[in-house]
Symmetry: D2
Subunit: 334 residues, 4 copies
């Protein structure tokens, strides 16, 4: 299948490109970026670009939209311009997007393939309602992706409430998103819009698809989001109240969580590994960035507490989106 990556020179776009190197199903045909980058070779623009793609000539978004001519689009453009671009492309082509533009639409799934694969069915609603040949599948915000992978095995114990404090990496803010002078030797407990996203996206992802839409999960999620001086890897301290379950049972459920193993997706890795002390620098690259590391599980009063860490650019963005596409293909949606 011929694939295009939109926003291919940004942080998330580069991660898409890196993950698509040597992919058995998806062949990168077009790398799309801003007018300024158009006409340059990708290797000129991205110093550590994979050999395979260094010679590809980057095209501008305007040029690309005139004649996409690919079978699949991965979108890493900013949210501000994504809504229109995605809708136009989805008329003909499946779009897997990291942008938040359509995440909260009733007929668009926020997909974490190991967590809510069934939500892919929304594609049918979407096509019917919008008359598209293609479709849009979003992945969640990076913190939500890491969180929901750790919450999925807890669903069977009856989640009643979640309190989560995030310690998010610098690269989550984009290449120039954060001034060194702001974050060095500091913690910044403000990431605009992030807490709302975590609270609402996770409830949609863990919600129930019935008929034509998703009913958000009925439990409360409350988040405090902070930025810390770490390059990559979001770490989250989680307090969760459950209907039932013991530390042993939960630990067992964490360890056993491997729901898509049988599907043999090309990029699939065990999504969750338990380690005594999860740490972003040590564990962010586990499973080529797709494995989330959970640990420090303890019962504490009426709640359980644990810590989870995962790669924000891979599990939390490009890698999750790629898995979404692989799942969609395996399940026959593309």
């Amino acid at each position: 299948m011929k694939v295009a990556v939109l926003g291919a020179t940004g942080m998330v776009g580069r991660t898409f490109v890196g993950l698509l190197e040597g992919h058995p199903w998806f062949k990168v045909e077009k790398l799309v970026a801003s007018e300024r980058s158009a006409g340059k070779r990708y290797g000129e623009l991205v110093e550590d670009a994979p050999e395979e793609f260094r010679e590809i000539e980057v095209v501008s978004l305007g040029e690309f939209l005139k004649d996409p001519d690919v079978d699949l689009v991965f979108n890493a453009l900013p949210a501000s311009i994504s809504r229109e671009v995605e809708e136009r492309l989805a008329e003909q082509i499946p779009v897997f997007t990291n942008a938040r533009a359509h995440r909260y639409d009733d007929d668009v799934p926020i997909l974490v393939p190991e967590v809510n694969p069934g939500h892919l069915k929304l594609i049918e609603v979407q096509r019917e309602k919008r008359g598209w040949n293609g479709f849009i599948v979003t992945n969640p915000n990076c913190s939500t992706a890491v969180l929901t992978v750790s919450l999925a095995p807890l669903v069977e114990f009856g989640i009643k409430r979640v309190h989560v404090a995030t310690m998010q990496a610098i690269s989550g803010a984009g290449f120039s998103g954060l001034s060194a002078l702001a974050i060095q030797d500091n913690v910044i407990p403000l990431i605009s819009g992030e807490e709302w996203k975590i609270e609402n996206e996770s409830r949609k992802i863990l919600g129930r698809l019935d008929g034509k839409g998703i009913t958000p999960a009925p439990f409360e999620v409350s988040a405090i989001a902070t930025r810390v001086p770490v390059l990559h890897g979001h770490t989250e301290a989680v307090f969760v109240e459950l209907e039932r379950g013991s530390v042993e049972e939960i630990r067992g459920a964490f360890g056993a969580f491997d729901p898509l193993k049988e599907l043999d997706l090309p990029s699939y890795e065990k999504p969750l590994v338990y380690t005594d002390v999860p740490q972003p620098r040590l564990h962010r690259d586990r499973g080529r960035g797709l494995t989330v590391t959970v640990g420090r599980l303890e019962e504490s009063g009426s709640a359980f507490k644990y810590v989870v860490t995962g790669h924000n650019l891979v599990r939390g963005a490009a890698g999750g989106s790629l898995l979404n596409a692989e799942l969609a293909r395996r399940l026959g949606y593309i």
Copy 2:
């Protein structure tokens, strides 16, 4: 009053010495450290020692104990050797200590002067029970100090439960406590014993003194403690459930909290200031390190959430202990 500082060359000891420069009530007579440092001038051992104390000859603990000859002791020794040393000194001399050795004794207060000044009355129980002329007053663990200053104004709203995730500074681990290779570009969600301390010390501090002991506060406190690459200043993300109260009322209570203002203690600073986005590097030195900064208060589902940051070596250790001594003197205990 003649004062000795035990452990004067460590991180907390230096902070004591710095705060005692030019103190109107307490005159540093003795700086006590290990055998290895004994006989050297303080200025040789501590590059940035205040001019006032540079020429003082450091004495060894053994030497000091033979003939303390001071009116008051500040203790910054490690917990391991503090129990015995403190008990021996307290027979004659008031001891204000940062060590945890006696914190959990029934007749020893963990004092945060703005939060539980009434607990000083335990001194009487202590003297009676132990037959001492002196006494022991402890300050809490650094994270607990910062947390309880922010919880004190919430007591009137009926605290039901507290979930707190800490992001603690490197200096909390002592000068050589943490390898650079461990913490650089990382978050380490394990600080040995810390969570237990936060959970139990805060309930003792906010507990009720009746007759001869303290009944811990009846609410749950659950903590996840992490270390982040910040030099000084512990930051804490707090979820608190209350019986009643609104964001406006709580914000008002934070702003109004200034309980010892009238006592005119020499080192007193407003203990709590509300700021939109509290940040350790920007706010740790507020009020010469004694002011805790709180912000980001929001209602979130059934809980309120906020962030608080404060200087772990000052508010969380030496500064808190010094305020304890000032309060004890003002109230006539010394």
Copy 3:
């Protein structure tokens, strides 16, 4: 004297304002910033502004130029707009500027007051040539300021050649000048234009004023400039070849360097202190940021080597400029 600070909300501007708090000679009358900031109180724009200036209403540059009405201007505007602004102001008012716009003009001194106070005489040339009532005095680039303070005591030994590698702090790039993702866990050996400035400004500063201009010092200066993950404080590794002198003599000259002591300038601090191991975090605030720390002096083959560190925003920018103004006043130029 009534004073204006141009560019008062940037990194260097804030440093000017901080240093002018309670100044015995200079009273801040006007704080000038961009159109966007105009009309706001300074305390709204700069969180940690000194109490004294919080209520001052910031004026726009356009507004200010219409009617400066001050006796002295400190300029912290970017170089790009400084040339014209400074020339217009200098027609009537003395301008002390951190911008590089006029540094390389024949009749404008680059002044480090302890190093080349005699160059102030260029003011006379300037006034005569340009017909101004005011004048322009520049301070050097931050790395050059630190370097030349350490080179000045070596002049008597006959400087033949200087090789210097700088390790410069983040704040030298301005508040948003450097992305956290670029510098975290990294060294960036490229600071645009910096090496040229160090090489040429230091030779002008150490040059000889004869008649109407300055002949640059006859020795070679070669610089490699790098950025390191340090907040404030530029550190420089210096190799210097001398005509004569021993380690003891040079060390003595470093220690004795205190040339303006007798002038009793309000902000003056000993400009150079020798310490075994100079380090930016430990020593940048020495002498309120005006003292440069030198150390590790050794003879090594045909050269001497040493390390020097100093505060880039104070000694290397606003503080140096303020000392320039104080010297100019003491010497009767204003």
Copy 4:
């Protein structure tokens, strides 16, 4: 060939083990560490140990020395105990060591295979003189390794003098070698013994082997060594005076430097790559850590200046030593 790694749990030892994973010539038979680690599986001691070695039971040094039974030893023990251990082993077995214990012996080469492969001939001197069946080959100190790879292509231009300022990574100090509180937000311009090593080892490496010993290269090397807050990768700012040559010629020599290409060593990578702005975080892993990155070459007065960066644990330690062993085998010494 059966191989043992001594000091297998330290920073350099782990790097040896990582590089030996799947090695076509060398099979790790024994992992040797302290008494404390003996008896444990390697995977228990080193979280990220390669799968291949996780189950190997670590043996103590004492146990190992009783019956080494391997064909080759890689030594990553501390210098303090290495002298005796290496001499005892070398009686029978070739030893490739990162320890400095024997580096300065007349009959022991400090080998950088791309730089001074001919020095391997000292093995013959060594065997004859000491009556050993085995031998000792050392690799240089980490900073020297990076420096000499960049100097080797300059030899043809006649090196007259070298001034080098290093910015060295934290991991060069070993796992617990450096306190986070010391280096965070700081530069520490003191690394004990390092400058002497750089100055002397580089002259030995670039020296001439004649008859039975090495005459150090006749040029001066002067070094200032600093530690910076970077995890891995030493960066060096180099000023070099040459007899002849232009920027173009030198740049060409840097680019062409690939001396052992024909030998087809299993771990060989191009040793030197020219990049505009070499940076430790971006380039330390080039060529799996064996490639040194050079850039910023300019002529500056009577010298040339450039910047070079390379991985201190790979190129500067274990990787260099492994290449030494591969070269020795290819040339028939083992």
